[in-house]
């Protein structure tokens, strides 16, 4: 981060402040709506501590909605940051953990963990991490030998790996006979509903160091995007940076997958949108993705649990409903 000019810092503060305000607004909105009703004013009273701590609304907001909103913000931030890192490292604007099959790989690991009867943490998180690393290695092996990772070959290998992962998932699911099946299927579609504050804290403990690490490498990502020679000439160790970033982001993604299943397209939509608005400087994009991605998933989850008349739908359905058409649009734009 040698080229940190005052201009960047003031812009960083300005952008982060704006997105933080949006995130906070989304989180307050997210806490004020739910299946048992509510309202922004009473929620603000509860959040500011001006209400009876034994009241029902107090319990529901502090112990059901807030953990869920916090989880959505964390997961959204992770997935969108993961997308940004993969896009920079693979120099491909269409890269994303979900599309590349990294999420699918960790889902296989997580399902295997669930079927083996492991606990959610550390058992399932570990098998999910192993699964994501395995798919990452698989993709890199498939695309190695090409000096530049071409858009088409990378995307195609990703599609293949993803298809393979889906069929392995279907295979594992079809082996399962009992009632765990329902739970696995709901979880696969992306489920934020079982968040409790302890789990959210644990997840935050795993993810925040990753965010900081990635922010430290944000300038290196800028240089990598300019090309290997350029990056090498500034004295950064490409290999170390690349491996550190890949492993960190795979770890983050698998941690979120083991908690809430497959939530797609967050890692695609947010980095692109933010790049369009704020430009391609990663020192700005990393915090923007964390805050913006968080807001996106908080809002998608809010829609997922309030739109249906009865019950709720998985958040992954909403992110994909918005994300998939956007992906096609971006694909068309990038071809031009």
């Amino acid at each position: 981060m040698t080229a940190k000019t005052p201009f960047i810092i003031s812009r960083l503060i300005w952008v982060s402040g704006l997105l933080l305000a949006i995130l906070l607004a989304a989180m307050i909105l997210g806490s004020s709506m739910g299946s048992s009703g509510g309202g922004i004013i009473s929620v603000l009273q509860v959040l500011s501590g001006k209400s009876d701590p034994d009241s029902m609304l107090h319990t529901i907001i502090w112990r059901i909605r807030l953990p869920r909103v916090l989880l959505a913000a964390l997961v959204g931030a992770t997935l969108s940051l993961g997308g940004l890192v993969f896009q920079a490292l693979l120099r491909n604007l269409l890269a994303e953990p979900y599309i590349l099959g990294i999420s699918g790989g960790s889902a296989i690991g997580a399902i295997a963990g669930i079927l083996l009867g492991l606990s959610r943490f550390p058992g399932v998180s570990l098998t999910a991490f192993l699964g994501s690393i395995a798919t990452l290695v698989l993709i890199l092996v498939m695309t190695s030998g090409q000096t530049v990772l071409k858009k088409e070959s990378l995307l195609l290998s990703g599609v293949m790996v993803n298809a393979f992962c889906s069929s392995v998932i279907m295979f594992l699911v079809s082996l399962t006979q009992d009632s765990r099946l329902h739970n696995i299927i709901f979880w696969l579609m992306g489920d934020l509903s079982t968040a409790d504050i302890r789990q959210v804290g644990l997840l935050a403990g795993m993810l925040l160091p990753c965010f900081i690490l990635i922010f430290r490498y944000s300038h290196a990502m800028n240089l990598l995007l300019m090309g290997k020679e350029m990056a090498q000439s500034t004295g950064i160790n490409i290999k170390v940076v690349t491996i550190a970033l890949l492993v960190t982001s795979s770890f983050m993604v698998s941690a979120t997958v083991s908690y809430c299943g497959l939530i797609g397209f967050v890692g695609l939509v947010m980095p692109h949108l933010l790049r369009l608005i704020f430009g391609a400087d990663h020192r700005l994009l990393v915090p923007a993705c964390i805050l913006g991605g968080g807001s996106y998933l908080v809002i998608c989850d809010l829609l997922a649990r309030t739109l249906p008349e009865q019950g709720e739908m998985p958040a992954g359905v909403i992110t994909a409903l918005i994300g998939a058409p956007l992906f096609i649009l971006l694909l068309k734009r990038s071809k031009r």
Partner: protein, 316 residues
């Protein structure tokens, strides 16, 4: 019930059957008495549920939430519906249950709605309710009693236990005696005939899915004097059309949550194979799946329906 009362055994053996019935009832009451003593009560208000967990329940629960359709049916059968403040989405029997507040489906419970209803007792079922939601409910200091009915006998035990925690022991006993009598009637009818026709019970249309040994349906088919052609270790085995034809079922029963039209289509497809005895003899039937897959008192209705389909000659 009328089904049995009007067509019951020939006159010459009637006294004998009455005697057997009497001894069975006496035996059953002594069993019941023994069972009531065995109901695990550690201290006042502390119970051990069917997962061997110690739970502290209110002495007289007034705001009960049922986390599965079968539990709703049991609570209604015990006439304790005034305590019931919330049910799952598919709790559709009796019809009044559909008017109660909904708390999501039994595999996808809406935690927020449950907590908002402020229950003093939730009754959950092990097979289906996600463990995470049960754990979280308990973190809100909401007592959860988990039942785990595995077969007809444990369903009867479950009725007694729920009756016990809802202070409806008398109702539960009456209900149990009634259910037990009806089961005994089926058993004594079946004992008159050693013939056990092969039954194929299709619970899934596409793919074709039937029921293995470790299911309520298998138990009911066997009790109703049939042979379950799909018995085996797999609880819900899949079949190809070829395998079904090779089994040559004499009676073919399709349970369906779907509409009559779907059944007609399935029936028409099987009719293309007249070599199958069930097709030749016109013994393909549609039954309501809710009578067979919910561990509730209505399983006995299902049993009575099955003997009517499998052994109509015994009821003449």
């Amino acid at each position: 019930m009328s089904l049995f009362e009007s067509n019951f055994s020939p006159p010459q053996s009637r006294t004998k059957v009455r005697l057997i019935q009497k001894s069975v009832i006496i035996f059953w009451f002594s069993f019941l008495a023994l069972f009531m003593c065995l109901i695990p009560r550690v201290a006042a208000g502390t119970f051990v549920d069917q997962l061997e967990r110690q739970v502290t329940l209110p002495d007289d629960p007034q705001r009960v939430i049922s986390l599965a359709p079968s539990i709703t049916e049991i609570i209604y059968a015990l006439e304790q519906e005034n305590r019931l403040k919330g049910v799952t989405r598919h709790s559709d029997f009796p019809i009044q249950a559909t008017k109660l507040p909904k708390i999501g489906s039994y595999v996808r419970l809406d935690l927020e709605r449950i907590v908002a209803l402020n229950p003093d007792l939730c009754i959950a079922i092990k097979d289906g309710n996600p463990k995470e939601v049960i754990d979280r409910l308990e973190s809100f200091k909401i007592p959860v009693y988990v039942v785990n009915p595995r077969n007809l006998n444990t369903v009867l035990e479950t009725i007694i236990e729920i009756g016990n925690i809802l202070n409806a022991d008398d109702k539960a006993e009456t209900l149990l005696t009634n259910l037990h009598d009806r089961i005994q009637r089926v058993k004594s009818l079946i004992s008159q005939d050693t013939y056990r026709p092969g039954v194929f019970f299709q619970i899934g249309i596409s793919p074709i899915v039937s029921v293995g040994t470790d299911t309520f349906l298998h138990e009911l088919i066997v009790l109703a004097g049939g042979e379950n052609l799909a018995d085996g270790k797999t609880p819900y085995p899949r079949f190809s059309r070829e395998q079904v034809l090779a089994l040559a079922p004499e009676i073919f029963i399709v349970t369906s949550m779907a509409r009559q039209a779907v059944f007609e289509r399935v029936k028409a497809e099987w009719r293309r194979w007249p070599s199958m005895p069930a097709v030749r003899n016109e013994r393909i039937f549609l039954v309501d799946s809710n009578l067979f897959d919910r561990p509730s008192p209505r399983l006995v209705d299902g049993l009575e329906l099955l003997i009517k389909l499998i052994h109509p000659e015994l009821l003449k």
